[in-house]
C-alpha cells in the first residue's frame, strides 16, 4: 500500500442545475478529476425534497465528489464559500 498519498475527500451536495457551476469552480481551483453520484431525497433546514425530474432538474440534487490535495481542497472551498448557502 506504499502508493497511497494523503488526500482530502470533498463531497458537495448540489442542486442539479447548479452542478455546472460547481464544475467550473473545481476547474478554476485546479481540480481535474471528479465523480457525480445521484441522490433520491433529503431533508434539511429548508424542508424536504425528493427527486422529481419534471421540474427542469430543480429540486433534484446530486453529490459532486472529488478527491484532491489539501491545497486544492482549500482553494476549492474558498471558491465555493459564497454560494454555499444556495448550493
Amino acid at each position: 500500500m506504499k502508493r497511497l498519498t494523503s488526500r482530502k475527500r470533498i463531497e458537495v451536495l448540489v442542486d442539479a442545475p447548479l452542478l455546472k457551476r460547481v464544475k467550473t469552480m473545481a476547474e478554476e481551483a485546479g481540480i481535474i478529476g471528479y465523480t457525480v453520484i445521484p441522490t433520491l431525497e433529503g431533508k434539511g433546514a429548508q424542508g424536504e425534497w425528493r427527486d422529481e425530474r419534471v421540474s427542469g432538474g430543480v429540486g433534484s440534487k446530486v453529490i459532486f465528489l472529488t478527491i484532491v490535495s489539501e491545497e486544492r481542497a482549500t482553494a476549492f472551498l474558498d471558491q465555493l464559500e459564497p454560494i454555499l448557502d444556495c448550493v
Binding site: P17, L18, R53, G57
Partner: protein
C-alpha cells in the same frame, strides 16, 4: 362538467388524492422524464404538420405577436404585484414573475386535448406561439430582479451563459426541433410514426397527469414559504392573464379554439424551463417558492378551473 370527467383530468385528481392521503404511489423519475419528452416531441410534430398544411398565415403572425407581447408584459406587472401585495424581495419577485410570463407545456397540451374533444381544436401554429413564449419572460424577470435588487448575485451569471442555457434548454430544443421536423415531413411522413406520437398521446397524458397530481399535492403539503397572499396571487394571476388572453385572441380575430389556447398560454406558469434557468441565474431565490406557486397552485387551477372557464368565456363572447 364534461371536462372534469375526462380521463386525463381524473388521473390528475387521483394522483392528488393519493398524495394528500400520503400513499407511497410514485412514478419512477425516469418514466416521468421520458413521458415529458414524449409529450414535447408529439406536440411539436403535430403543430408542425398542421402548419405545413395551412402554410404561414397572417393569423399565425398575429398570434405569435400577441404571445410575445404577453410574455414581455406579464412579468413586469407581476413583478410589482409580487413586490407590493406579495411582500417578496426583488430577487424572489423577479424569479416568480418570470414563471408567469412563460408557459406550461402540459397545461397547453391538456387544454388542447379538452378542446379537441369538444370539437374546438386550436390551430397548429399555436405550438409555435407556445415555443416563442417559453423564454422571453426569463430575460424580463432577471432584468427586473437585477434592476431592483440592492445586492446579491442577480447578474453574476454572464448573460451569454444564461442565454445559452435558456435557448438551448432541452425542452425548448425538443419542442422546436420536433415542430420543424413536423413541417419537413408533413402529413404523409407522419403516417408511419403516428401510432406512437398521435394514437398513444392521450393515454400517455393520463399517466403524466397522474404524476403531476402526485407532485403538485406533495409540493403543496410540504410548501413552507407559501404565504396566503402568495397562494392568492397564484390563483389570481392565471385568472386575470387568461382573461386578457381571451380578449387579445378575439381582438386579433383568432378562432375560438386558438383563442382559448392563447388564454391558456397566458394563464399558465412554466415549471420546466424557467425554474432551471432561475436556479442558475438567481441561486439566492427560493426554489421551493416558485415551484410551489407554479406546480402546486397555478397548475391545478388551470387544469381544473382555468381551461373550462376560458372556454366558456370565449364561446360566450365569440357568440355574442
Amino acid at each position: 362538467m364534461d371536462t372534469l370527467l375526462s380521463p386525463v383530468i381524473l388521473f390528475f385528481v387521483l394522483g392528488a388524492l393519493a398524495a394528500f392521503a400520503r400513499s407511497d404511489l410514485a412514478i419512477p423519475e425516469a418514466i416521468s422524464k421520458g413521458i415529458s419528452l414524449y409529450l414535447m416531441a408529439a406536440i411539436g410534430l403535430k403543430g408542425g404538420i398542421l402548419v405545413a398544411e395551412s402554410g404561414f398565415t397572417t393569423d399565425l403572425l398575429l398570434a405569435a405577436l400577441a404571445g410575445l407581447v404577453l410574455s414581455f408584459t406579464i412579468p413586469v406587472v407581476a413583478f410589482f404585484i409580487l413586490r407590493g401585495f406579495g411582500r417578496l424581495d426583488p430577487i424572489n419577485a423577479g424569479a416568480v414573475a418570470a414563471h408567469y410570463g412563460s408557459v406550461s407545456v402540459v397545461t397547453f397540451v391538456t387544454g388542447q386535448e379538452v378542446l379537441t374533444s369538444s370539437g374546438l381544436a386550436p390551430a397548429g401554429y399555436m405550438v409555435a406561439v407556445l415555443a416563442l413564449m417559453e423564454t422571453p419572460a426569463i430575460i424580463v424577470g432577471l432584468y427586473m430582479a437585477s434592476r431592483y435588487a440592492t445586492n446579491g448575485s442577480a447578474g453574476t451569471t454572464s448573460s451569454r451563459e444564461l442565454l445559452h442555457e435558456t435557448l438551448l434548454n432541452g425542452s425548448v430544443v425538443l419542442l422546436t426541433g420536433s415542430f420543424i421536423i413536423g413541417i419537413m415531413i408533413g402529413k404523409e411522413g407522419f403516417a408511419t410514426i403516428a401510432p406512437v406520437f398521435e394514437t398513444g398521446f392521450r393515454g400517455m397524458l393520463c399517466f403524466f397527469l397522474l404524476d403531476m397530481g402526485l407532485i403538485a399535492a406533495r409540493r403543496l403539503r410540504e410548501a413552507r414559504s407559501l404565504t396566503m397572499r402568495l397562494v392568492f396571487l397564484g390563483l389570481v394571476f392565471p385568472l386575470v392573464n387568461g382573461i386578457i388572453g381571451v380578449l387579445l385572441g378575439l381582438m386579433i380575430g383568432l378562432d375560438v379554439g386558438s383563442t382559448v389556447a392563447l388564454a391558456i398560454l397566458a394563464a399558465s406558469a412554466s415549471y420546466i424551463a424557467v425554474p432551471a434557468a432561475m436556479r442558475l441565474a438567481l441561486p439566492e431565490a427560493d426554489s421551493g417558492l416558485y415551484l410551489s406557486m407554479s406546480l402546486a397552485v397555478t397548475f391545478p387551477f388551470n387544469i381544473i378551473i382555468g381551461i373550462p372557464l376560458f372556454t366558456q368565456i370565449t364561446v360566450w363572447m365569440a357568440g355574442s
